[in-house]
């Protein structure tokens, strides 16, 4: 018997049942949140965070990722960041700030039709490297830029 096919049917049936349960409101948002990668967000160094989020920390530097951030951020509590990935088949964009207490800031997963573009505002504790990791076609690409911070945005 083709066991691969068996397990495929089983897992897809399970996924289907889960979807139904969510749409029927049987599972609360809290249960859905189990997907939130807690270990990756709790990691205290960049490699561990990338490893936690993607299962590997080997990334290739790519010039197809455009990272727009200020050279000097006066207020570390609000640093505007724009990432544009020209890599075809971009699946997700992750932002990491290397010297923050927990570097992983956000992971944006692109759905159907979404372009490799994301813009947001982040907090930075101190002058540090901003690392962007783009997942495309199963590979990890990265780009980084140093942002100088005058007033940190993490303390009180």
């Amino acid at each position: 018997m083709n066991t691969k096919r068996r397990s495929f049917i089983k897992s897809s049936a399970a996924a289907g049942a889960f979807g139904v349960a969510v749409s029927a409101g049987l599972i609360t948002p809290r249960a859905v949140l189990a997907a939130w990668p807690k270990a990756a967000f709790a990691a205290t160094d960049v490699d561990a965070a990338i490893n936690g989020a993607f299962g590997s920390s080997a990334t290739t530097e790519s010039s197809d990722i455009a990272l727009k951030a200020p050279e000097i951020a006066e207020n570390g509590a609000v640093v505007p960041i724009t990432v544009t990935s020209k890599i075809a088949g971009t699946e997700s964009i992750s932002l990491l700030i290397s010297k923050n207490p927990t570097p992983l800031t956000a992971t944006f997963k692109m759905g159907k039709g979404a372009e490799g573009f994301v813009s947001t505002r982040v907090k930075m504790s101190t002058t540090s490297d901003l690392v962007v990791v783009v997942k495309a076609n199963g590979k990890l690409y990265s780009a980084k830029k140093e942002v100088k911070v005058t007033i940190g945005g993490c303390g009180g």
Binding site: P29, L33, F41, G111, K112, A114, V118, T120, K123
Partner: protein, 104 residues
């Protein structure tokens, strides 16, 4: 909960540009209350989803380092004027909010 999300979505040719502002404290859990000396517990958005006609176009996992009152912008293809865009968030205390907007 009062409406905490403001969304604008605009079609430009092929692509739709979505801009959103969410009002949320985004406490990191690392700040101290200066009067009592106690730590302010973390309170931040963990997950943001945005869907167009029932298809998820963006699904974001956020940590504590996203700024207070988060701003988010992204682009996607395949939408028309008048389509509905739905955006929702869930934070670490299980609070959530969602909003629907017409694409202009």
């Amino acid at each position: 909960m009062a409406k905490s999300i403001k969304v604008r979505a605009k079609v430009k040719g092929e692509t739709t540009v979505v801009k959103a502002l969410i009002s949320h404290a985004m406490e990191t859990g690392q700040r101290k209350n200066k009067k009592t000396g106690k730590m302010i517990p973390a309170h931040f958005i963990q997950e943001v989803t945005c869907s167009h006609n029932g298809n998820d176009v963006l699904n974001a996992d956020w940590g504590t380092a996203i700024s207070k009152n988060p701003y988010l912008s992204f682009k996607f293809n395949g939408a028309k004027k008048g389509d509905t865009l739905k955006m929702s968030w869930v934070d670490n205390k299980g609070e959530s909010d969602s909003v629907e907007a017409k694409i202009k």
